[in-house]
């Protein structure tokens, strides 16, 4: 797939590297040559030119691309660039926007007519993600797969979890309603086999169906915390979006260090308490009654501050912490440090792009990426190897596991004796690099 990305900022750079390592033909365009110099070592092409110039977009090959992605910091430029690219002949165009209004009708239809097929709004995606996290406080992550028929939750296990100390083989016999698909242990992701034991501090990825969620909750020794009050550190655009999206469901208090910003926030978010001060100041947090809050959300511009803020909030006894971590290399560390949920705009934006790609191109089957494992959704073809016998007799290699499938619109978990039928939509977990093997099985 030929992809043109305009804007070598954070999201653009991350996407370009990711898509290039996925084997796509990537052309990265930016008007600032120095930003493009860092890409000399990557397997992609760069082009220096104005994102809104017909000539330079044409030269960069926007007219012949399958997907055009505009992620410069300015939404007007993004929208215009998409419109131009579409006019030049791009098959599909995606723009990053900065305004919730553009996601709704009638603006949406207006922009589709202009040539902008999809919009990404990273701040909104982040707010959505945080809403999920606040609703399901006991999970690290929550994914709805196969049209919501299959749920994958990531849970960090403590001593009191019933799962701890069990081998997967024992588990399979007594609980058929859940499938442990992957385990993240000390920065490493493993696809567990029957003899693998579940340990304390593992993050386990459990596939299940919606009706069994309470049972999973019980097995993992977690309890749902009802959240009423949320303290936000850092009044960024994401914070604003989060408060808007919650729409009065929670009581918010925002601590912001910039006085000017505080005044603007109080005007924009009248129902919200705004406090001027440094969110790292223990006395201030104490004064504002941090221990009365059920959730703490750190959204300042600095990842380090956010991580530390969350850690001190944990000490105050806050049940749920969410940190925005923009440095990708910190994410793994942050997860190890007992921070409830980590939010990263870049990853959210790029997984959204993946979804868009998935909709456009049926040959690309990846649906989400965990740290170093991929989750793939595939359709079993007539006569493919996967349909020939029961799963346990297929002798699958150790770097993949089949979590569940969708048959006749209903989600089913896969067990050893399941026979996959042609036409089933199947969810497979595999380690990075095993994708080819998985695809072969289904062909």
């Amino acid at each position: 797939m030929k992809i043109v990305i305009v804007g070598a900022g954070e999201v653009g750079s991350h996407l370009a590297k990711l898509l290039s390592s996925e084997g796509q033909d990537v052309i990265l365009v930016d008007s600032d040559e120095s930003k493009l110099n860092d890409f000399e070592m990557y397997n992609l092409m760069t082009y220096t030119g104005k994102p809104t110039s017909f000539a330079s977009l044409k030269e960069a090959g926007a007219g012949k691309c399958d997907l055009f992605i505009a992620v410069t910091p300015y939404e007007t430029r993004n929208l215009l660039a998409c419109s131009i690219a579409k006019n030049l002949g791009a098959k599909s165009a995606v723009a990053r926007i900065d305004n919730y209004e553009y996601m709704k009708e009638p603006a949406r239809q207006f922009f589709i007519n202009m040539g902008v097929d999809d919009v990404i709004y990273p701040e909104y995606l982040a707010a959505q993600e945080m809403m999920t996290a606040l609703k399901r406080t006991w999970v690290r992550c929550w994914f709805d797969l196969l049209n919501g028929q299959l749920v994958v939750v990531g849970v960090k296990l403590r001593e009191k979890a019933k799962l701890v100390g069990l081998k997967l083989r024992e588990l399979n016999t007594q609980s058929s309603y859940m499938h442990i698909s992957a385990i993240k242990r000390n920065h490493e992701t493993i696809i567990p086999g029957g003899d693998d034991m579940i340990c304390v501090n593992d993050i386990v990825y459990i596939a299940t169906t919606n009706e069994y969620i309470p049972k999973v909750l019980e097995m993992t020794g977690k309890e749902e915390v009802g959240i009423k009050k949320v303290l936000i550190m850092g009044g960024s655009r994401i914070a604003e979006q989060l408060v808007r999206l919650a729409g009065g469901k929670y009581k918010f208090k925002i601590i912001e260090s910039d006085l000017e910003r505080c005044h603007r926030l109080s005007e924009k978010l009248p129902d919200c308490n705004i406090v001027h001060g440094d969110g790292r100041d223990m006395d201030l947090l104490h004064e504002e009654g941090l221990s009365d809050y059920e959730a703490f959300v750190a959204l300042t511009g600095s990842s380090e501050t956010n991580i530390l803020g969350c850690l001190s909030a944990k000490e105050f006894g806050v049940r749920k912490t969410i940190a925005e971590v923009e440095n990708i290399q910190f994410i793994s560390e942050a997860e190890g440090l007992n921070i409830g949920t980590v939010i990263n705009k870049k990853l959210l934006a790029s997984s959204r792009i993946f979804q868009i790609m998935l909709d456009r191109d049926s040959s690309n089957s990846k649906c989400l990426a965990l740290a170093d494992a991929d989750v793939v959704e595939l359709v079993a073809k007539e006569g493919s190897r996967i349909t020939r016998s029961e799963v346990m007799n297929l002798h699958l290699s150790h770097d993949m596991t089949i979590a569940g499938l969708l048959r006749d619109g209903k989600g089913i978990l896969v067990k050893g004796n399941t026979l996959i039928q042609p036409g089933d939509h199947v969810v497979v977990f595999c380690l990075a690099g095993a994708m080819n093997k998985v695809e072969k099985l289904f062909k």
Binding site: K2, S21, D25, M41, N43, L44, M45, E188
Partner: protein, 491 residues
């Protein structure tokens, strides 16, 4: 998540090397076929042994050790590229040794290195008595080395598209900046090789249509387009004494000295970027000026023949041959006077365009240096003014300019050091400088005892030295020299 990045990934390097050696073995099959056609039984056996040894060594390296991961960092790429070139030359020398064409290792290694680096200097005094298959192997080495061993493997090994292919591409491809023609490095490599192969086919047909037979046409195609310089005759192109051959070879040497990215664009109908390319204009100007000077000097001093037309054609041929670092000859340049040799030295220093098959310091850097010198003079008068170096109507960042100037400085240092070493070994001074220049620029001509590019009389030490100098020149100094810095091996 946290992998140590500073350590070299030797198993991966070894596996890559193994794969590449198997590719070399595949190329060795070409002279084998020639041997079968011309029924050279003895030579055939020797070459077959070479193929087997190379392929087996390659297979052992590729499959003997299973690397934990194939990730290659910058360092791995920088180490792999010189090692690959050295290993190619080592195994490429086997056919010479086994057939007894060259009886010593130093000479055989130098011949192979000279082949792969497209230098074209030789240790064989009489090439006309050699078996056809050996002559063909010399030409094939040129052809592969001209476009680049790594570049070829990038086009054919799909795994390089992910694992460090970019590092290798950047380490091998010549020039100040690296043009990428297509988004993925493998497609870029394929496009470049496509241009190369198409040009080769056209040239071979044109030569064959003239007085050359098919074998000579093929050999000279591979040797001229890759700007190599090995010939199948002792007197090189002069043997045919045909204006048609001279002109055809001149044209294709000239094309070989052009930036292949530009050729690719031109082939796709984009002639504008060719006409507007400043470096291309410089290249044409330098060729025309040097030809005029040489022809005028030779005519006025009545040094060569009497026919002005032939003098001009031959002068053009020689200038193009030297500037593109080919080193094919139509006349003995030493008889053309000291001034001609001086012009040749200047041409040898700068060479043709970056991104071509040519060697030497590249005309791009000459252009950059000249423009920078002009700017510096301007700054003396107007210290506060901002003046930038413009190339193709774009401002060149100061780091790139300084990189190019450091390159030129280092280049001269290496010439001096290598010439000094040669003088110590016992080569006359003028000849030592000329030989160093010729080896470092991958040209392959010589004067004095190395006249016509035949270095057979040099002692073994000098041969090893020149082999290394050729490699340094082909890999544009830094890729090779960085291996000798402390920082490369330390964390």
């Amino acid at each position: 998540m946290f992998r140590k990045k500073s350590n070299l990934n030797f198993p991966a390097i070894l596996r890559m090397l193994g794969w590449l050696l198997m590719i070399e073995a595949m190329f060795m099959l070409a002279p084998l076929v020639v041997g079968v056609i011309y029924e050279e039984i003895e030579t055939l056996k020797s070459i077959l042994y070479s193929v087997l040894i190379t392929a087996t060594s390659g297979a052992i390296m590729a499959f003997g050790l299973v690397p934990k991961n194939m990730d290659m960092q910058k360092r791995d790429g920088l180490l792999l590229v010189p090692v690959v070139w050295a290993a190619f030359s080592f195994f490429g020398a086997l056919p010479f040794l086994f057939t007894g064409t060259i009886d010593n290792m130093a000479g055989a290694f130098m011949e192979a290195m000279s082949g792969f680096t497209t230098t074209g200097l030789s240790v064989i005094t009489d090439v006309e008595i050699l078996p056809k298959s050996i002559l063909f192997w010399r030409a094939v080495m040129h052809w592969v080395g001209g476009m680049g061993i790594i570049l070829f493997s990038l086009a054919v090994l799909p795994m390089l598209n992910y694992h460090g292919g970019m590092q290798l591409f950047n380490a091998e491809v010549t020039g100040i900046t690296h043009d990428k023609l297509r988004p993925r490095v493998s497609s870029t490599a394929k496009s470049l090789w496509m241009v190369y192969i198409v040009l080769s086919i056209i040239m071979a047909i044109l030569l064959w249509a003239g007085p050359m037979n098919l074998f000579d046409a093929l050999c000279h195609t591979m040797s001229a387009l890759s700007t190599g310089g090995f010939s199948t005759k002792n007197s090189s192109i002069a043997w045919w004494d045909s204006t048609y051959v001279t002109v055809t070879v001149t044209i294709f040497m000239f094309l070989g000295g052009m930036n292949f990215a530009l050729l690719y664009k031109a082939a796709r109908g984009d002639f504008r970027s060719l006409w507007h390319n400043g470096t291309f204009k410089w290249y044409c100007c330098v060729v025309l000026i040097s030809t005029t000077l040489v022809a005028a000097y030779v005519v006025f001093n009545k040094l060569y023949g009497f026919e002005i037309g032939k003098t001009i054609v031959d002068a053009l041929f020689t200038c193009v041959s030297v500037i593109t670092s080919t080193g094919l000859l139509v006349a003995d340049i030493e008889t053309w006077g000291e001034f001609t040799i001086l012009i040749m030295c200047i041409l040898m220093f700068f060479g043709a365009c970056a991104g071509s098959t040519a060697g030497a310091a590249k005309i791009d850097r000459l252009e950059l240096m000249m423009k920078n010198i002009a700017n510096e003079f301007y700054r003396v008068l107007h210290p506060n003014s901002i003046v930038n170096v413009h190339i193709n109507r774009k401002v060149v960042p100061q780091e790139v300019v300084s990189k190019a100037i450091v390159f030129l400085g280092t280049y001269m240092c290496i010439i001096v050091v290598s010439a000094m070493a040669l003088v110590v070994i016992g080569i006359p001074m003028k000849e030592a400088f000329f030989s160093s220049l010729s080896a470092l620029g991958n040209i392959g001509i010589g004067i004095g005892s190395a006249a016509n590019g035949c270095y057979a009389s040099y002692p073994a030490v000098a041969k090893w030295l020149l082999s290394i100098v050729m490699l340094i020149g082909r890999l544009e100094l830094f890729t090779f020299l960085v291996l000798f810095t402390r920082d490369f091996w330390h964390k």
